[in-house]
C-alpha cells in the first residue's frame, strides 16, 4: 500500500471517535468485507459523536482505492439517522409527541 510501513498502520487513526485504525480497515478488507456500508457497521466508522464528519471521506477513499471502485459508488448507500450530533439524553424526556401530527408514542402505562 503506497509504501506505507507495516506497523505504522496501527498508529494511523481513521475514525477518531471510535479509534478505528488503518490496520483495522485493511484487516477487515482482507477478511472479505466488500461493501462500504458493511465495513462502516462492522468497525463502527462514523458511528461516534462526530457522525462521520472527520472520517467518512478518508475511509471511503481508502476503501474505494483498495476495491478499485469510484467514490461515488462507495458512498451511494450512505444514510444518516438522527441525532446527527450528540445530545444529552435528558432532552428526550420532555418531548411532547403530539406536536404537529407526530404520532403519540404508546408508553405502556402512566407517565
Amino acid at each position: 500500500m503506497g509504501g506505507e510501513e507495516v506497523g505504522m498502520e496501527k498508529a494511523t487513526i481513521i475514525c477518531r471517535c471510535n479509534d478505528v485504525t488503518l490496520e483495522d480497515i485493511n484487516k477487515a478488507i482482507e477478511a472479505g468485507i466488500d461493501d462500504f456500508e458493511l465495513l462502516r457497521k462492522y468497525l463502527k466508522i462514523g458511528f461516534g459523536p462526530c457522525q462521520g464528519r472527520g472520517c467518512l471521506l478518508i475511509a471511503a477513499r481508502i476503501f474505494a482505492r483498495r476495491m478499485s471502485k469510484s467514490l461515488g459508488d462507495v458512498l451511494a448507500n450512505y444514510s444518516v439517522r438522527p441525532p446527527i450530533t450528540p445530545i444529552p439524553a435528558k432532552y428526550f424526556t420532555t418531548v411532547n409527541p403530539s406536536f404537529q401530527g407526530g404520532k403519540k408514542a404508546n408508553r405502556g402505562g402512566e407517565s
Binding site: G3, T12, I58, I84, I87
Partner: protein, 467 residues
C-alpha cells in the same frame, strides 16, 4: 484558572498551554482540539460532571468544573437533576446556520414580513466570517473592502433591529421528524420547530489525512488554527508545518508568520502550487519553502507533535525512499480542503450526490437551491465548497425564492426580480471567472431543472416535506 469573557473553554485551556484534552476511547491516545468549530469530537471533556461536552462551543463562566476524559465516557456517579424546558415554535422560515449564507438570508427574510428563526450552534453568529481577518474583494453590495468579522458584526447589528426574527444561539438541530418537525436543543431547552420553509446552511468541515500519529495534539485543521489565532487572538503554536498549498494553506502560513509563529515549510503533494501566485509570492518573500511533490510521512511526539517527517513522492504519489526531511514543529496544519456538512440534508431525506468538485456529498437542487425535499433549501458551503461571497449570494437566492413563494402581489414580483438578478450575477458574472471554473462545474452537476426535480421527487419521494 482565569479566562476572558467570551472565550470558549477550549480556547481558555489552549491559551494556558493545555495540549491534551482527553485520552481516546479504546486506545487511550492523547487528543486535543482539531476543528474548533463544533464539527469533530476531539475537544470533548467532562464539564460540570457531563462527559462528551464540546468545549469549543461552551463559553467559559465563573465556577465551571472541567476535567479530562479518559477512555469511553461513563455516566456521572451522581445523577444530575436539572430541568429541561420544552418549547414549540411555529415559524415561516427556519434558518439553520448563522454564517454568511444564513445571515444574508435572515436579513432579507426578516425584512419581508415573514417570521424567521435562525439557529446556530456557536454562542455567537457569524460562522466562519468570525475568523476571516482579510478584506473582501468586490462591490460594496457584497461587502468589498470589509473584513470578514466586520461583515458578521454588520449583519448581526442589522438583524437585532428587525421585529420578525428570533435568534437562537448555542442551539443545535439534531434531526427532522415526521410532519416536518425540526428538533433542536440549547442548554436547558428543547425546541420543536414547525417551519414552512427551511434553509439549511450548515457549512463545512475540514478534510483530514491518514498518516501515522495523525491524531496527536498539534495536528489540526488550518481553519482550527485560524479560529484560535484570528477569532480569539491566541498563538496556536511556536513552529508550524503546513500541509497543502491551496489558498487556505498559503493564507494560514502568512497569518502564522504575522502572529509570530515560525513556519518551517509548506508541503504540497502535487507538482504545482495550488493557490494564487499573489499569496505564494508573499510566503516566498518570508523565505518559507514551498515543497511541491512532497507529502507528510508521519509525526511523532509524546503528548503533542514534536517532529514531522515529510517525504518526496513520485508521479504516482508513492514516497521516494531516502528523500525524508525532518522538521521540529509543534503544529501540523492540514489545509487540504473542506467537505460540505450535509448530515442534516441527508437525514431529512434529500437526494444526495457525491461531487468531487464540491468536496463531498451534496443535495441535488434547483437553480433556486431547493432540494428534493419540498421547501428545504441548501446554501453556502453545505451546497458545495466555494467561499463567503458565493455563500452570501446563495443565501440571497434561497431567501428571495421563499419570499416570492410566500408573499403576494407586488412583494412577490419584487422578490422574483431580485431572485433573477442574484441568479444572473452569480452564474453569469461571478462564477464566470476562470479561477472558479472547478466549483462552477461542480455546481452545474448538482443543479437540475424544475422538470427534472419533479421527476426526481416522483422517483425518490422524500419522507417529509415543508410547507
Amino acid at each position: 484558572m482565569e479566562a476572558y469573557e467570551g472565550e470558549s473553554i477550549a480556547i481558555a485551556l489552549y491559551a494556558i498551554g493545555i495540549d491534551v484534552f482527553s485520552w481516546s476511547p479504546k486506545l487511550g491516545r492523547p487528543r486535543g482540539p482539531l476543528c474548533m468549530i463544533g464539527k469533530c469530537s476531539s475537544c470533548f471533556m467532562i464539564v460540570d460532571g457531563v462527559p462528551n461536552t464540546k468545549t469549543c462551543r461552551f463559553p467559559v463562566r465563573e465556577g465551571l468544573r472541567v476535567e479530562r476524559q479518559r477512555g469511553r465516557s461513563t455516566p456521572p456517579p451522581e445523577p444530575i437533576i436539572d430541568e429541561v424546558e420544552s418549547l414549540e415554535i411555529k415559524t415561516d422560515v427556519l434558518i439553520i446556520g448563522g454564517g454568511p449564507a444564513g445571515l444574508e438570508a435572515a436579513s432579507i427574510l426578516s425584512k419581508s414580513g415573514l417570521s424567521v428563526v435562525i439557529v446556530d450552534e456557536h454562542f455567537k453568529l457569524g460562522g466562519q466570517l468570525l475568523k476571516q481577518t482579510h478584506k473582501f474583494f468586490g462591490s460594496v453590495d457584497l461587502f468589498g473592502g470589509m473584513r470578514g468579522f466586520q461583515i458578521a458584526e454588520a449583519y448581526v447589528k442589522n438583524l437585532l433591529s428587525q421585529p420578525n426574527i428570533r435568534v437562537l444561539t448555542e442551539t443545535v438541530v439534531y434531526g427532522v421528524f415526521r410532519g416536518g418537525v425540526v428538533s433542536a436543543v440549547s442548554p436547558g431547552k428543547h425546541y420543536l420547530i414547525k417551519p414552512r420553509a427551511v434553509i439549511a446552511a450548515t457549512g463545512a468541515q475540514e478534510r483530514l489525512l491518514e498518516f501515522p500519529n495523525n491524531d496527536l495534539p498539534g495536528v489540526m485543521g488550518a481553519g482550527g488554527a485560524q479560529t484560535i489565532m484570528n477569532e480569539y487572538g491566541v498563538k496556536p503554536g511556536e513552529r508550524a508545518l503546513v500541509v497543502g498549498s491551496g489558498n487556505v494553506g498559503l493564507i494560514i502560513a502568512y497569518q502564522l508568520l504575522q502572529a509570530g509563529v515560525r513556519v518551517e515549510a509548506i508541503v504540497e503533494i502535487l507538482i504545482e502550487i495550488g493557490g494564487w501566485f499573489v499569496h505564494a509570492a508573499k510566503i516566498r518573500r518570508y523565505g518559507v519553502p514551498i515543497l511541491t511533490g512532497h507529502t507528510i510521512k508521519y509525526v511523532v511526539g509524546d503528548s503533542r507533535v514534536e517532529k514531522a517527517v515529510v517525504v518526496a513522492v513520485d508521479d504516482k504519489f508513492n514516497p521516494i525512499p531516502g528523500s525524508e526531511r525532518e522538521y521540529n514543529v509543534d503544529l501540523v496544519l492540514l489545509a487540504i480542503g473542506l467537505e460540505p456538512d450535509t448530515r442534516l440534508h441527508a437525514q431529512v431525506g434529500a437526494l444526495m450526490k457525491y461531487i468531487p468538485e464540491l468536496g463531498g456529498l451534496v443535495p441535488l437542487r434547483t437553480r433556486e437551491l431547493e432540494t428534493t425535499v419540498r421547501n428545504l433549501y441548501v446554501a453556502g458551503d453545505s451546497s458545495g465548497i466555494e467561499e463567503a461571497t458565493t455563500a452570501i449570494l446563495e443565501g440571497r437566492i434561497a431567501a428571495y425564492s421563499i419570499v416570492s413563494k410566500y408573499s403576494d402581489g407586488e412583494k412577490a414580483i419584487a422578490a422574483e426580480m431580485e431572485l433573477d438578478k442574484a441568479l444572473k450575477f452569480l452564474w453569469d458574472e461571478y462564477r464566470s471567472s476562470p479561477l472558479l471554473s472547478r466549483a462552477r462545474r461542480g455546481k452545474e452537476l448538482a443543479t437540475v431543472s424544475k422538470e427534472e426535480m419533479e421527476e426526481l421527487r416522483r422517483k425518490y419521494p422524500p419522507p417529509v416535506e415543508f410547507g
